[in-house]
Subunit: 163 residues, 2 copies
């Protein structure tokens, strides 16, 4: 049931990807479709390892080399954001139809939450201007301990949510 719902709601981004591929003269392969489907149905941040495991459970084993290559295409096409949160591997999230945000990461359980702050965005533009830079991107990550999550019991310091 859950999977049917999420498949429904994410039809759009997947056809966006197919369209993007065609525009670029790239082929719409089975692997690319499966990987994109899985990615657009994940509601959280993921590592390549996580993605590969999910695909394997879905009986869609795709080689890691191919997954890396597909992810690289999606990042270049602006459909996927790549993050470095300090762990050994990179973390990704799909960004189609989603507004910009930054992240706050729990050092105990690894949970990743999002936030937006206009004041900070504005200050960044101002700083870049003052320093003679043409700003193209930024990365802001806060690290801490999720007191609130711990109280509600939804933080387990044992489990790592990604990677």
């Amino acid at each position: 049931m859950k999977s049917r719902e999420s498949t429904q709601k994410n039809i759009q981004p997947i056809s966006d990807f197919a369209e993007y591929l065609k525009e670029k003269g790239l082929k719409v392969t089975n692997q690319r479709t499966l990987v994109a489907q899985k990615i657009f149905n994940m509601d959280s941040h993921f590592s390549v390892d996580h993605l590969a495991n999910e695909l394997r459970q879905k009986h869609a084993s795709i080689s890691r080399a191919t997954i890396y290559r597909i992810i690289s295409v999606m990042v270049e096409g602006g459909l996927l954001a790549e993050h470095n949160f300090g762990s050994s591997s990179k973390i990704y999230e799909h960004i189609s139809n989603r507004k910009h945000h930054d992240h706050i990461i729990c050092l105990d359980c690894g949970s990743i939450q999002e936030f937006c702050n206009e004041e900070i965005e504005t200050a960044q533009l101002q700083i870049a201007k003052e320093m003679g830079f043409e700003l193209s991107e930024h990365s802001l990550n806060l690290y801490g301990h999720c007191v609130k999550l711990k109280k509600s019991g939804s933080c387990s310091s044992m489990k790592k949510s990604t990677n």
Copy 2:
């Protein structure tokens, strides 16, 4: 001449390191002293590779394994900050006696500049509070093109300043 000056001005941090080692019951070895000296005399951000090369030129070849181990001690001891600016290897900078700052990185030449912004710092604390986090650290990196440096000729898109 240059090296004599910089050796002079950095005596303090080096004895701080020796003191830290003693406190922790660690030994003040030749390698640790040489590495710390080199680090405190570097006025910029550096990678392990960069550091190893500098040491080699100073006729103080120290194995990479040892350099990694020493750096790890210094990071744990709060004498060294570790950054991830997107390149393949981590970037370090000594932080004793230096106030907190964030970084702006040129995507063309790799130059790394520092800035401080109180407004952003305050906003971060506020965000963490609202999200129920006890903030322990953060990383804010801006990426762009150094228009000003290019105009003055001090930006070479060919050279990478670190790593």
